[in-house]
């Protein structure tokens, strides 16, 4: 029985149809609607613009009034840092102005990040 379970587990890992679904840009666009009270892709609002986000140092959009916490964070935005921040912004950067509980669902975060990656290309 144990060997059968192990075999099933191995099969699940190696079968792409049973693996975690790939992040969806279309689904990520829907998740991004939650951000639209404060953010836009191309221009600054209550929150900073998202175009040019990947590879950008946190707190570095010229002219945007960031919190001191964000300016000091030394974060460079990539998939990993965005995933951590979006899960719990106040835990990731205490003192951030982004008073938002976070996107708690891992798959939704992956979709959102996939959308952000291609939105301004």
């Amino acid at each position: 029985m144990r060997s059968m379970l192990a075999a099933l587990a191995l099969a699940a890992c190696s079968n792409p149809l049973l693996a975690a679904p790939a992040a969806s840009v279309v689904a990520g666009k829907v998740v991004y609607e939650r951000c639209l009270a404060c953010h836009a892709l191309a221009y600054d609002r209550t929150g900073p613009r998202h175009c040019g986000l990947f590879g950008r140092r946190a707190g570095s959009v010229p002219g945007f009034a960031y919190s001191a916490a964000m300016r000091r964070s030394a974060i460079v935005w990539d998939e990993k840092t965005l995933n951590l921040f979006l899960a719990d912004p106040l835990q990731a950067v205490p003192g951030t102005s982004m008073g938002y509980a976070g996107v708690k669902d891992k798959a939704e975060r992956a979709d959102l990040i996939a959308y952000l990656k291609q939105a301004c290309q």
């Binding site: 609607e33 639209l36 009270a37 600054d44 609002r45 209550t46 008073g99 938002y100 509980a101």
Partner: protein, 182 residues
């Protein structure tokens, strides 16, 4: 004065206050007594909400002055702008009460005016902002250290959700497309 007595006094004296205002006045003593890191966090969240409300006021002003809205859509825009002004006013007062400094309106806001060519465009733009506002308050409510602030933010959230539904209805879309918001 107890909360119930205060509410009775306000209703009898003809002062009609929003649910958010009542909640905040009810918590006035508790607000004054608080301090420390939790209050700092609450002020920061309130200021972010205030910044978004001030931008919403400017967005509705843009819509109202665009010449693209006809009655009754124009009346909706003016009414909803009035609600956002009330939200902003109560948020700014609360921030002051907590010892914080309320953010002011920006001298200039950026809006996608190049995409606003019809009444439907303006209503769709407003609906997107209102939906985002619902999500923003939904994400803020659980963060408040002071439960009276969470209650007040939830009251504003309800108002934003009604704006979103009415705007969708005006666009000919299902006003309430799902049972839950996120």
């Amino acid at each position: 004065m107890s909360f119930l007595n205060r509410r009775f006094f306000l209703s009898q004296s003809g002062l009609l206050l929003s649910g958010a205002a009542v909640a905040l006045l009810a918590g006035e003593d508790a607000l004054a007594a608080q301090g420390g890191p939790s209050t700092e966090d609450d002020v920061r969240i309130l200021n972010t909400a205030l910044g978004a409300e001030l931008e919403a006021i400017a967005a509705y002003q843009l819509g109202a002055e665009s010449g693209l809205l006809q009655k009754p859509a124009l009346d909706l825009a003016v009414t909803f702008q009035g609600h956002h002004k009330e939200h902003a006013d109560i948020l700014a007062k609360t921030i002051g009460k907590l010892g914080g400094k309320a953010v002011g309106a920006k001298a200039k806001y950026s809006f996608p005016t190049e995409n606003l060519k019809s009444q439907a465009d303006v209503l769709r733009f407003a609906a997107a902002l209102e939906k985002g506002a619902v999500s923003a308050y939904l994400g803020a409510v659980p963060l408040f250290g002071n439960r009276e602030l969470a209650k007040a933010a939830a009251s504003i959230l309800g108002d934003e959700a009604m704006h979103w539904a009415v705007l969708r209805n005006a666009l000919g879309e299902a006003p309430v497309p799902s049972a839950f918001m996120s």
